[in-house]
Amino acid sequence: MDFALSTYYPIFLFLLVVVGFAVSALVATHLLGPSRRTPVKQMPYESGMDPIGDARQHFDVKFYLIAILFLVFDVELLFLYPWAAMYPWASGPGEPSSYLPGEFQSLVFWEVLVFLLSVVVAYIYAWRRGVFRWR
């Protein structure tokens, strides 16, 4: 646990260089570059299309609902994956059947069922409340 600051000097140096480069590049372009303020130059995309309307747009809330629903089922999968990896599936002879001690196997099984059930409840709730209806 010997802590020596000198070990980290390269990192500090690196950080310094990074920041220094960014700052110096900005400053240099500001100082060196010619600047002419014409209406065309002031546009966001000087050589692109003329912008139409406001940059901020309203998105329908339906998209958010879909996104949240996706998140729910995605996260569900995320939880199921380690469970599946840990659960004592039948495996070859000589291998440890699971990392999970035997005492917990039934408990963990039912726990996952409860978890799935709660997701199902959420799904039915969303269905019944008409979240999936594309209005």
Partner: protein, 559 residues
């Protein structure tokens, strides 16, 4: 695998049946509400499930460990700690849940009733788990379990039809609460991460042990230099207190409360005044280690020998308590909106309760203290719940029966139009002031007794000043604050009794909301009952909180 460990990791499940029942009932309510829209049906289901949870709790109140080693394993491995404190607070949250279900009965649109009650049930489960948490992760999850349903009910309460949104104030309230609550959760989590980083465990007793070892080590090697943990410990302490202070509405984290209470419905304001406070105080007490397992005296004293708790914590909480009660009461003087007024009142009462927490570590040196500080806090929490829910209940009853109850003036002449209701409101108001023979008086008495019992410092220095002087000063400040608070509570009483009713109020006589009335009646009975015979509650609270003084003497004998 070590069978003790297996017991520790699985044995607690049967004891959490009440919370599981509540969760299952919430699922039923969420689904059922999509088929039938009927507030009485779903309210009834919520009541029944609360009753069943209470029954389950009474069947399996406290775990019985076969041997000390099993108990030890549970303490260090189990995610929940099912001690008497947990039992008390789970009971309190079930009772509070019952009151809230009754109180909110008519507050939401018919088609949202099921969801609303489901949210209430989840909050009750969350409060219970908060009180039982033995681990930082469990604690955080339990806190979120109380918070997330709160965000929902802030949206559910007001809209009368699904497509009809909240008004601007309601939206502001819901959004403000949501964002700030998330922010406070982040702060809490940040503090927790420091604790974990320092100790390498999320288990609370384990944390205490780790701190003791570290501070012993530094004391042994370099007694003059303060422990290097001090700085990090301070960050953790401040972050945890700040994050939980949001839930307690402690200044400076109170600023959302007035706006949110005013913007949302009365019933929602009642929920906000009660649920986060219970969860917050339970969490604070657990994290700060005032109440650790009732099985180990050693761990307990070790926590208190932690320099961070002994020196900094009381000062920090002293300041927060003093500022909270003073600001809450002074700003309460200026209010005209009833919910806003009660919001500042709840801020002020959080300040009173913090007195108990601030004094608790100091009371360890007190000779044979009649109160420990922590028990006074939970006593006050119960009385606060009864009287505040009662006051909100009266307002909710009025608004659900068609009378406007927004500003203080709306209550003018209530004693003539509804004498019984006015009388019971006066009971709550006087209890909030702290007039004898009401629960509020006994609560304040115990808090004051704790603060006044702090013994003088061993050596008197200029800084930090003498503890005794400090805490007598705090009690004095609290007394003056109670008098300041008296002014605005009295204003409501004066308006109800000393003014003539406006013709509008006299004319409005709508339907009666019996469940809300029942909630008000129950709160009134509690307020008066605790005021006249505080002994049962005090006994319950004191048996739940292990006596600090007893423990120290026992451990002193053992070593």
């Amino acid at each position: 695998m070590n069978p003790n460990l297996v017991t520790a990791l699985t044995g607690y499940l049967p004891y959490l049946v009440p919370e599981m029942l509540l969760g299952a009932a919430a699922c039923v309510l969420f689904l059922g509400g999509t088929w039938r829209a009927n507030r009485h049906l779903w309210g009834g289901v919520a009541l029944v499930s609360l009753a069943m949870a209470a029954l389950a709790l009474s069947f399996n109140p406290l775990p019985h460990y076969e041997s000390a080693s099993v108990a030890d394993a549970s303490r260090y491995a189990s995610p929940v700690m099912l001690d008497r404190l947990a039992l008390l607070l789970r009971g309190v949250s079930l009772a509070g849940g019952l009151l809230l279900v009754l109180l909110c009965w008519d507050s939401m649109p018919e088609n949202r009733a099921a969801e609303y009650h489901a949210c209430l049930l989840l909050m009750v489960a969350g409060m219970g788990l908060c009180a039982a948490a033995n681990e930082l992760v469990t604690l955080f999850l339990a806190l979120e379990l109380t918070s997330i349903p709160t965000y929902l009910i802030l949206y559910l309460g007001k809209s009368s039809t699904p497509n009809d949104g909240l008004d601007a104030a309601g939206q502001e309230a819901a959004m403000k609460y949501f964002l700030l609550s998330i922010f406070s959760s982040a702060l809490t989590l940040f503090g927790f991460s420091y604790l974990y980083g320092m100790a390498g465990t999320t288990n609370l007793p384990g944390l205490a042990d780790a701190f003791r070892r570290a501070s012993d080590l530094s004391a042994a090697t370099e007694p003059t230099v303060p422990s290097p943990l001090m700085g990090m410990g301070m960050v953790a302490l401040v972050m945890v207190v700040a994050g939980l202070g949001f839930r307690l509405t402690a200044v400076p984290f109170h600023f959302y409360a007035p706006d949110v209470y005013q913007g949302t419905t009365t019933a929602n304001a009642a929920v906000l005044a009660f649920v986060p406070k219970v969860a917050g105080f339970a969490a604070l007490v657990r994290v700060l280690g005032f109440v650790l397992p009732n099985l180990s005296h050693e761990v307990f004293t070790a926590t208190l020998s932690r320099p961070i708790l002994r020196e900094q914590l009381p000062i920090l909480l002293w300041i927060v308590a003093a500022v909270t009660m003073t600001l809450g009461n002074l700003l309460g003087l200026l209010q005209d909106n009833l919910r806003r007024l009660l919001a500042y009142s709840s801020v002020a009462h959080a300040g009173y309760m913090l007195i108990g927490l601030a004094a608790a570590p100091r009371l360890l040196d007190a000779f044979d203290a009649p109160v420990d500080g922590v028990d006074a806090v939970f006593f006050y929490l119960v009385t606060y719940g009864a009287m505040t829910l009662g006051a909100f209940g009266v307002l909710q009853y009025l608004s659900s029966s068609g009378q406007k109850a927004e500003t203080v003036d709306d209550l003018a002449g209530l004693s003539k139009t509804r004498p019984g209701l006015a009388l019971i409101m006066v009971l709550f108001l006087f209890s909030l002031i702290g007039i004898p023979f009401t629960a509020g008086f006994m609560g304040k008495f115990l808090l004051f007794a704790g603060a006044l019992d702090v013994p003088p410092s061993q050596e008197t220095t200029f800084w930090p000043p003498d503890q005794r002087t400090l805490f007598v000063g705090l009690a004095l400040l609290a007394a003056l604050n109670a008098a300041i608070g008296g002014w605005y509570y009295l204003r409501i009483a004066a308006v109800m009794y000393l003014r003539d009713p406006s013709p509008l109020a006299a004319a409005a006589e709508g339907k009666r909301s019996w469940p809300t009335l029942a909630a008000v009646g129950l709160c009134g009975a509690l307020t008066l009952g605790i005021g006249i015979n505080p002994d049962p509650l005090k006994r319950a609270v004191q048996s739940a909180v292990p006596r600090l003084t007893d423990m120290v003497s026992v451990s002193a004998v053992e070593h």
